[in-house]
């Protein structure tokens, strides 16, 4: 029962196509875990499957011991998952403030405190608080997306490729933020940027062809050049 997120032989599909062929992984309370793998390996699809945005054909998906398979995405989110999608999921027609407010389960004291914490973590957002989200830069969008996923009392944060398309300087500050976040929140990170994954993740899983093929401690992967070459193409 001490596993927070548990996936066992998850097979998922979109229309006639099976995308995941068997993903198994576990994330314990307070851990930071990275999922690695090549382009098109199924990493993003796995997160979408957890969120119920992609349908599960078979396998077990549990959050805190409760099955989430077949549930509506919004109910899964309400079980305590903060989700940062690949393309940020920011609403352009809403202001930064509204992007926060729309995500809040309730506007109580704790939620507002968490929001203030996020604004301190990402000062850029504080400056742009009343602006429409369509005017934000790529990095600010990513910050808003991560920050928005933190305003609720979540059990786990799923982050999908935060480094994608961002400049190195911004990736660096994101990494600092994620390291700070993992000190109080469980994090499951999908990342292709190996350095970022190493910096944030304590353990890793590698997905290839829709299957989990390797797992272990991040420090071991850093040493194992052969494994890196085989699955990550570096």
């Amino acid at each position: 029962m001490d596993q927070l997120l548990k996936a066992q032989d998850v097979v998922s599909y979109i229309g006639p196509y099976t995308i995941l062929h068997g993903v198994s992984l576990e994330v314990g309370h307070g851990e930071a875990v990275a999922i690695l793998g090549r382009n098109g390996a199924g990493k993003t699809t796995f997160l979408k499957t957890v969120m119920g945005l992609v349908k599960t054909r078979s396998g077990i998906l549990e959050l805190d011991g409760k099955s989430v398979t077949g549930m509506e995405p919004h109910l899964i989110q309400r079980m305590g998952i903060g989700y940062v999608p690949e393309d940020y999921g920011i609403f352009d027609l809403l202001t930064v403030e509204e992007n926060f407010r729309i995500a809040m389960w309730k506007e109580d004291k704790e939620t507002l405190e968490r929001r203030d914490y996020v604004l301190d973590l990402f000062p850029d957002l504080k400056l742009a608080y009343k602006r429409f989200a369509r005017n934000l830069s790529g990095g600010q969008r990513q910050m808003l997306s991560i920050g928005r996923a933190l305003v609720n009392d979540n059990k786990i944060l799923l982050v999908d490729e935060p480094s994608k398309g961002l400049a190195p300087v911004i990736i660096e500050s994101l990494a600092q933020a994620l390291i700070e976040i993992r000190s109080h929140t469980t994090v499951l990170l999908v990342e292709q940027n190996f350095a970022l994954a190493c910096a944030v993740g304590q353990r890793f899983y590698i997905i290839n062809e829709g299957r989990t093929v390797e797992s272990g401690l991040m420090e071991d992967l850093v040493k194992d050049k052969e494994l890196q070459a085989l699955h990550l193409g570096i």
Binding site: L53, P73, F91, R101, I102
Partner: protein
């Protein structure tokens, strides 16, 4: 000058009516990606149910207050619409007339709201994401429920009256100002302001604006967007219903083909104004209303084709609509 003012007021009144239909249609299209081909039926149901309830309430009120009032000719089939002739020199107090009018409007709006809610739950929610099926199914609903109106209230057109307190004309300079038209403009403006405030200020508005961009993302931040879909669809229906209810007294007779013809006007507005844009549909409605009145006066022969001609021209030269999309969807 007088004619000009008359023209503007008539055109704006027309525009207000079209707006009531087009705004709902446009928001539903933008947020859910559903083209509601049954919108005209909802308009029609609003009109018939308003007329029926207005006459029914008025009949019972008058018969209670004036036992010697004379029941008048009846129209209808399963449900009948019966007028009543007040005794000479008798009149209902203004408050009573207003009450009857508002009650009938409320009845129509609530009924059509419920109808829209049922449509969404029963039919449309099953075909989200499948555009051809949406078109086909709402078209089927349009045909069936329009015929149902004919079954219930009879297939023949019949004349009706406006509520007496709105049934006047004021000469102002050279202009003939029809009170009912002014009333329509006020209603249209109020509704436009209300919709705008709801969209920009409320949580519902936030969800609608977010849903315009990407419904999946809305679900992924813990919001049951399907619930909002039902609500928004029903509200759009209620707006159409209100449009129908206000339309019938304007033209002075009740015809079962009014649903389709007004739906087409609304479609043209949505296409001309830009799919999914609220401002676009508001401006487009005013534009079409003014143009319709102007052409009917200047070149009456052209009035049938003018709207379609405008639409065709817009599509040929500016396929995204005159006022563009509120959000460009990527991909």
């Amino acid at each position: 000058m007088g004619t000009f003012v008359t023209l503007i007021i008539n055109g704006l009144a027309q525009g207000a009516l079209i707006f009531l239909m087009a705004s709902g249609l446009s928001i539903i299209l933008g947020m859910m990606g559903v083209v509601n081909f049954s919108h005209g039926t909802l308009f029609l149901w609003g009109g018939y149910s308003y007329v029926w309830s207005y006459y029914a309430i008025r009949f019972s009120v008058v018969m209670r207050l004036f036992p010697d009032a004379v029941p008048l000719t009846r129209f209808g089939s399963i449900l009948t619409i019966r007028g009543v002739q007040l005794p000479p020199d008798a009149a209902l107090p203004f408050v009573v007339e207003l009450g009857i009018f508002l009650a009938a409007l409320a009845f129509a709006v609530v009924l059509v709201f419920a109808l829209g809610y049922v449509f969404e739950k029963l039919f449309i929610s099953r075909v989200y994401g499948n555009i051809p099926a949406q078109i086909l199914i709402t078209l089927g609903i349009q045909v069936v429920f329009t015929d149902l109106v004919r079954v219930i209230w009879g297939p023949n057109p019949f004349p009706i009256e406006r509520p007496p307190f709105l049934n006047g004309v004021t000469a102002f300079g050279g202009a003939r100002i029809v009170h009912y038209n002014v009333f329509l403009i006020i209603v249209g403006a109020v509704i436009a302001v209300v919709i705008h405030r709801v969209l920009t200020r409320s949580k519902v508005g936030m969800v609608i604006r977010a849903g315009l961009q990407n419904p999946d993302h809305v679900r992924a931040i813990g919001i049951n967007i399907r619930g909002y879909f039902s609500l928004v669809f029903a509200c759009g229906a209620a707006l159409a219903g209100l449009g129908g209810a206000l339309y019938m007294p304007l033209v002075g007779n009740v015809v079962s083909t009014a649903g389709m013809s007004n739906q087409i006007l609304a479609f043209i507005v949505v296409v001309v104004g830009g799919l999914g844009s609220f401002m676009g549909s508001a401006l487009g409605s005013v534009f079409l209303g003014l143009m319709g009145v102007a052409i009917a006066m200047l070149i009456p022969g052209l009035s049938v084709v003018a709207n379609v001609l405008v639409m065709a021209l817009v599509l040929i030269f500016k396929p995204d609509g005159l006022f563009g999309l509120a959000v460009k969807k990527h991909g």
